[in-house]
Amino acid sequence: MDPDLSVAIRSEGDRTVVAVSGEIDVYTAPKLREHLIDLVSGGHYQLVVDLEGVDFLDSTGLGVLVGGLKRVRAHDGSLHLVCSQDRILKIFRITGLTKVFPIHASVTEALSADA
């Protein structure tokens, strides 16, 4: 149990929603990476990562998300993000990763987008 980061996983039809809360940084990112690896190993390739509960995200965290995206793509899957917080969106914008990830304002919106 690590109160600094928590990850809740649920299925929505053929999609898997990964709701993350807390801080995704150099300390906690390995935990998120493990979850994403487990999901892909378990055959879940249509992921929606919900970042609404995240209050900090650094470049290590971005690396883990990029890694997740690569893994699902290797299986023709997808990784959508949910994020409406400006301070989290900022690091995606700075790094140009807004062009790499489909980013949605809500889980509902993410689920209704093409996988």
Binding site: D58, S59, I94, T95
Partner: protein
């Protein structure tokens, strides 16, 4: 001028300690509230980078961070024992984050973003940034303006 120096064992958990301290001291120094997220992120990136450098080097050297409040500027220095392979000015000038980001996708899995990415994020966040490297250490210096004054940090 008031100063806080923090030196910490190069483990990732202490990057959080460093962020926490930097945020508290920056707020007290009078850095604008809307800039504090940026301070937190940039300091975190600089310290993560230093911790990474030290873990590659091995040894027990602590990472050092110095926070200074000097009239209308708040500065953060993060010092590691590594040396940059390339000229730091060159590293910063050359990095095109957007290009790096899209290239990152083509590489094989092991999903670490390219080295230099953390520094590039800092350069995208912080206007007044200096990276200096000599034979023994690398120093990342970030400066923010302070607005309100509440009697010094």
């Amino acid at each position: 001028m008031a100063t806080v120096k923090v030196s910490f064992t190069a483990v990732t958990a202490h990057v959080r300690t460093a962020r926490l301290v930097a945020l508290a001291v920056a707020r007290r120094a009078g850095v604008a509230e809307e800039m504090l997220d940026e301070v937190r992120l940039a300091v975190g990136e600089a310290c993560s980078r230093a911790v990474g450098v030290h873990s590659q080097l091995g040894g027990e050297h602590p990472v050092m961070m110095q926070l200074s409040d000097d009239r209308d500027r708040f500065s953060v220095e993060v010092v590691d024992r590594g040396t940059l392979d390339e000229d730091p000015a060159g590293v910063l000038a050359d990095i095109d984050l957007h290009e790096v980001s899209s290239r990152a996708l083509d590489d094989d899995i092991p999903e670490t973003l390219p080295s230099g990415f953390g520094l590039a994020v800092i350069s995208g966040l912080v206007e007044d940034l200096d990276v200096a490297s000599d034979g023994a250490s690398t120093r990342v210096t970030m400066v923010w303006p302070t607005t309100l004054r509440r009697g010094g940090i």
